[in-house]
Symmetry: C2
Subunit: 252 residues, 2 copies
């Protein structure tokens, strides 16, 4: 008899953003698999086996889950945010595809979650209120020219831009190159949001004009949102601002 | 003394996808404001006042919430999915901006939710596993040429495409035009997902090749996802398919 794999999005951090469906899937599982800091957010019940691994070990995690499920176990693979957006679900299905016919016997449920850009947007107002793109800036998995080409196309078509994985210890220069490119396309006053560790104890948020935005405003836990030509800043009482993108778009 | 406005995303439909933060905000509110069918998903407690309105009455809802908050009331404005993505949050901040300085005294919390494309993607696998765009096909609020231009740019840059509001009673031809445009850019075998009423009792899902996709596969409750050149279909045991977009992108 085959087991079951739940791929579970834990939301941005605070337990208040973990859906009841995600909590139920976690409670059912005999095995919890994931990147250590994400597993640390889960209150494991007695008897659950925790398998923490390194951030880069995604394919190993997928194969581990598949071998446990083949042995009849119920497994939850956890991701931060939503598991389907730059996270573990795609890796699992890639592993399932390589199994060929045996992959058809694997029972999988993907439990959707609150993805980082949605949490960041809510914290700042409604910057994703109109057409937007989500782009990973990590070039571990794709050529830098592909990233640049997509950012250019999306910026020229006036999408709001949400950047996942804007920076890492191994990649310090890419975000600077992206900001430089955007300055050739978007106005200097375009708002740029750096939303870090949203809903977690060390949450911090910075808003800059595109002209003054700097890569050092981001770290590995930052989601960057760049407004479209229509995005607006509205003062809040506390010296802070709301940012929103109106649903009504003017003629180009 | 001023009240408070919570803008709350209810997720795709099933209560299992409503976050604890959303439930808490709904429970706190003295007044619930929203489109009737969305409010019908909320179990109001005794003493809460329900203000249901028509789908198009977004700005009226925002002003209603602001006047209640100005009178010291606690209000929840509800949206399906996430309130920040093609939904009420942007409308509220637009209304707040028009208030000028008085707008700075309005206390607002946006509570993030599971947006429709994330729920649809989870149901089908991980089609949003790599760079993607979200585009509303409604031309109530923007010129049709803007929509066409954005779809063309995003398709040429090989983003996965998620279409909100693909069709309505008043707009039957647009989705057909979009599919025709995409056939000039993407391969005939590109998977197209029609995900309708995800997580609700009348949920249904259809997957077609781009060559055979038809507007009649969508209705007002459908989220349409069009794969990139990298998106893959993997057979499931039940004659159904998983669709995922690998995180690793080949050179262009």
């Amino acid at each position: 008899m085959s087991g079951h794999i739940h791929v579970v999005g834990l939301g941005p951090g605070d337990a208040a953003h973990v859906t009841p469906a995600a909590s139920a899937a976690l409670a059912q599982a005999g095995h919890l698999i994931g990147y250590g800091p994400y597993l640390a957010r889960v209150s494991a019940r007695p008897g659950q086996v925790i398998h923490a691994s390194d951030n880069r070990a995604e394919m190993e995690r997928a194969h581990h889950a598949l071998s446990l499920a083949a042995a009849g176990e119920t497994v939850a693979i956890v991701s931060s945010g939503d598991a389907g957006i730059f996270a573990m679900a795609a890796t699992l299905f890639e592993a399932i595809e390589t199994l060929g016919e045996a992959g058809q016997r694997v029972d999988v449920t993907v439990v959707p979650g609150v993805t980082a850009m949605v949490a960041a947007a809510a914290r700042l107002g409604a910057p994703l209120g109109h057409d937007f793109c989500a782009i990973s800036l990590s070039d571990n998995l794709k050529p830098w020219e592909t990233i640049l080409g997509r950012v250019r196309a999306a910026a020229e078509a006036d999408f709001v831009l949400a950047f996942y994985n804007p920076i890492s210890k191994a990649r310090l220069w890419q975000l600077g190159e992206i900001l430089k490119l955007l300055r050739t396309i978007r106005a200097p006053r375009t708002p740029v949001i750096f939303a870090t560790a949203i809903s977690r104890p060390d949450e911090h948020v910075q808003v800059a004009d595109l002209a003054n935005a700097e890569p050092k405003m981001a770290d590995m836990r930052t989601l960057v949102i760049v407004g479209s030509s229509a995005s607006r800043c509205v003062p809040r009482g506390d010296d802070d601002v709301w940012i929103y993108t109106p649903r009504r778009a003017a003629a180009a």
